[in-house]
């Protein structure tokens, strides 16, 4: 690995100062499960690593009147163990839980998964579907941005020099709102999404009153598919509405062609997963438990 400096600030201001003051590249360290791999391969060559985990609030989950607030560096294992989140956002929790092995879960965070800016990041589609915003600290103070505006391309984010994600705010679910995330991989575990769909549904009776769809691994960034949501809103999730929403997901795809999935396959599966996640979210709204992707 190349020469690099390490600092572990204890306040947001110190972290911003360190990041803004560096002359070369900087990287923020949360769980490091992507960063360390990139340091070793030489893909990342920062002059400074800022370990954010010592800053109060960066690890932890708190409940406010209108939102759950998840510290940017909170590891997956803490998110999956939080009963409030499991109840309110089972789809977010299952997306986070799919990031790597037990060992990776001990470290990997939503901020890292997001800012690593892989199109296949598993936590991102459900977090976008949940209308989460990222609170970003930087030299000119704090700003709050919808999560779908952070990643601009593979490995690229809209964060300016000196900025980093401090926490995520996930608005509390309304009555009869739930979510789901499914990803397709060619095996049962330890693989990268070929397609991932996160959905959030709100219903009145059996009619969908609101929907959000996040679509992963089929374009340079995770997509918010408004047309799929529109196709569902006002429907009773009948076949025609589901077909239209699935077609909207497939139409939004601009995937790569690789050994894990061809363009044609990914495009088709995007629609299939849309339908399946919608069914799971509906069941959850109706109090029917779903284990989602994992048998345990």
């Amino acid at each position: 690995m190349p020469r690099v400096s390490y600092t572990a600030p204890s306040t947001v201001d110190e972290a911003v100062k360190a990041l803004a003051g560096a002359t070369g590249q900087t990287r923020v360290l949360s769980g490091g499960t992507d960063l360390l791999v990139q340091l070793k391969s030489g893909r990342a060559r920062p002059e400074l690593i800022v370990d954010a985990k010592g800053i109060p609030g960066l690890i932890g989950i708190r409940e406010e009147a209108d939102a759950f607030v998840i510290g940017a560096a909170t590891p997956g294992v803490m998110i999956s163990a939080d009963e409030r989140l499991v109840k309110a956002f089972p789809g977010v929790v299952e997306g986070v839980d799919l990031i790597g092995s037990t060992q990776i879960q001990g470290r990997a965070s939503i901020a890292g998964n997001l800012c690593n800016a892989s199109p296949a990041a598993d936590s991102v589609p459900p977090v976008i579907a949940a209308r989460a915003t990222a609170v970003i600290a930087g030299p000119s103070g704090r700003r709050q941005v919808p999560v779908e505006q952070i990643v601009t391309g593979p490995g690229q984010t809209s964060l300016a020099k000196g900025e980093f994600v401090v926490e995520f705010r996930v608005p509390k679910p309304k009555s009869r709102q739930s979510d789901a995330y499914l990803r397709f991989i060619p095996r049962t575990e330890m693989d990268i999404a070929v397609v991932g769909v996160g959905i959030s549904l709100t219903m009145k009776g059996d009619t969908v009153t609101d929907a959000r769809v996040g679509l992963g691994a089929v374009a340079p960034t995770v997509l918010l598919v408004d047309k799929a949501a529109k196709a569902l809103i006002g429907s009773k999730l009948d076949d025609a509405a589901l077909d239209a929403a699935a077609a909207a997901c497939s139409a939004a795809c601009k995937p790569i062609d690789d050994k894990r999935g061809t363009i044609k396959y990914r495009t088709k599966i995007a629609g299939v997963l849309l339908k399946r996640t919608a069914m799971i979210a509906r069941d959850r709204i109706n109090g029917i438990e779903h284990r989602g992707h994992r048998p345990v």
Binding site: Y6, L39, T102, Q103, E189, V296
Partner: protein, 160 residues
């Protein structure tokens, strides 16, 4: 570049070391501290051979920067046996031949111990998913999974 001075606790013993910012915890355990039980398989968090506990959490030590160990409690395979007395998992792995070449074994033992602490009565499926981040190219996994399940049953029995 100046070395970083780190104070940590390893297997209960206060430990200090000097490291570079780009050294991993695994590098320091093996190269600076002579704790060579943790193995480097892939170096990218895929194989689990470097598994250790940091502050009670199972992690890959190849994906932890050594300076992050400041103030932390690290547990490695070297702390698993009490002197000559093997941990029940170690004993069972030997008895049931849940290892062949042995490179993956420290990681499997650390990960299995973490599982049994969290879930004393795991199903076979739970064991397999929990250990999905530990790769073994010799055993075919069945003996490992069986050994973990047997130890779980024995530990529950003796805890009665």
């Amino acid at each position: 570049m100046a070395k970083i001075h780190v104070n940590t606790t390893i297997n209960g013993a206060p430990t200090e070391f000097l490291c570079d910012a780009n050294q991993t915890l695994l590098d320091v355990l093996r190269d600076n501290l002579g704790l060579t039980g943790s193995k480097e398989g892939c170096g990218s968090g895929d194989c689990g051979a470097c598994s250790v506990m940091v502050n009670g959490r199972l992690v890959c030590s190849c994906l932890v920067l050594a300076p992050e160990a400041q103030g932390a409690k690290v547990e490695t395979i070297e702390g698993m046996a009490q002197g000559d007395k093997l941990h029940p998992l170690q004993k069972k792995f030997v008895e049931m031949a849940a290892l062949q070449c042995g490179i993956c074994t420290p990681g499997f033992l650390i990960a299995s111990k973490a599982l049994l602490q969290k879930t004393p009565n795991p199903t076979e499926t739970e064991v397999r998913y929990w250990l999905a981040g530990n790769l073994c190219r010799c055993t075919g996994y069945d003996k490992i999974v069986t050994a973990v399940l047997e130890v779980a049953a024995e530990m529950r029995e003796s805890a009665r």
